[in-house]
């Protein structure tokens, strides 16, 4: 006679369990970590380089990049004088917590304030794989079109910041900023919205203010209140 055994357990994949471990490491080291995601070419590396250039004298920053191949991004960032680690995923289309965990021993976490993780260029998969960071940022760009949040709502959900880059070419595209902003704010109450041009610098100050404010808040209160991103 079959009997029912209550379980009521959330199914955390093995990836989520490793993400938790990564988070413990970050929190123990007092290191604030951000995951930046976007389609290829939207401007992840450009934004990260602008951020590092602006903040590296005040904060100890490190960079981890995920790409299928090459060390192009890590080399560019290393030239700015900060520790830069390259993960080559081979075929994987996203970073996961296991890959990130394997890269961490290459950094001295206790000697860092801010870790910027650049995910593989891909709009769909990265948001499904928690890394264990504190904040996640999605970078969209004007040439990609203003309807992507409506086409991929579940993928846009669960990010803390949406940056819309390449505002300098708004005149060349049919891009309705209000329509786009409404789409990203659906399912994301409290989302931070940053129109930017990495090329001209327009809007960058707002982004940097957010990063700085987050660092101050984290250093004061620790990592406990942040979702596992």
């Amino acid at each position: 006679m079959p009997k029912t055994v209550p379980v009521v357990e959330q199914i955390l994949s093995a990836n989520d369990q490793i993400a938790l471990q990564n988070r413990y490491q970050f929190d123990a080291a007092g290191l604030f970590a951000i995951n930046l995601m976007a389609s290829p070419g939207a401007g992840k590396t450009s934004l990260i380089m602008a951020t590092i250039q602006a903040l590296k004298n005040e904060h100890r920053i490190a960079f981890i990049d995920g790409d299928l191949a090459s060390s192009i991004d890590a080399d560019k960032v290393a030239a700015l004088g900060v520790p830069a680690v390259q993960i080559n995923t081979g075929g994987a289309c996203h970073l996961d917590a296991v890959m990130l965990q394997s890269a961490l021993p290459q950094l001295s976490l206790e000697e860092l304030d801010l870790l910027l993780v650049e995910n593989v260029g891909n709009l769909v998969c990265p948001s499904s794989f928690r890394l264990g960071v504190h904040r996640s940022v999605l970078i969209a760009s004007v040439p990609e079109g203003d309807d992507k949040p409506y086409k991929y709502p579940v993928m846009y959900n669960g990010v803390d910041v949406v940056v819309i880059n390449k505002t300098d070419v708004l005149d060349s595209f049919d891009f309705d900023m209000d329509y786009f902003q409404r789409g990203v704010e659906i399912l994301n109450p409290g989302l931070v919205f940053c129109p930017i041009s990495c090329k001209t610098g327009e809007g960058l100050a707002g982004w940097l203010e957010w990063v700085q404010a987050e660092l101050v808040a984290f250093q004061a209160a620790g990592g406990a209140s942040y979702k596992i991103r």
Binding site: M1, P2, I11, N15, V154, E185, I186
Partner: protein, 111 residues
């Protein structure tokens, strides 16, 4: 997309709760409509990885939870029409997910 890893977790949890039971006959899973989990993929991996365990042959039952949103402006709850997440009462886009992303193992049946 990561259904193999998830299915491995389901098996691990089920086996842990099975204790001394000779066989697990059924797993009762709850999946939210917006959880991005494909039930067919879980079933596919389950059939492979449960072989040789006390869970071999167990039926996977999926209870699906519909997506429900709550409007931050007028505070009413609603179920969205496909692809349209704005509040049907006041038109606001400031909506929060109340249910729809669940993924848990509610219970198992053993003998």
């Amino acid at each position: 997309m990561h259904e193999l890893s998830i299915t491995q977790s389901i098996l691990e949890i089920a086996l842990r709760h099975a204790d001394e039971a000779a066989r697990i006959t059924r797993l009762n899973l709850v999946i939210g409509e917006l959880s991005s989990i494909i039930g067919d993929s879980v079933q596919f991996y389950w059939d492979i990885i449960s072989k040789g365990t006390v869970a071999e042959g167990a039926i996977l039952h999926f209870e699906r939870i519909k997506a429900r949103f709550r409007c931050s402006d007028c505070e009413k709850e609603f179920e969205p029409n496909s692809g349209n997440f704005e509040c049907p009462y006041c038109g606001s886009y400031q909506v929060e997910l109340v249910t729809g992303r669940e993924f848990q193992l509610e219970s198992i049946e053993v003998e």
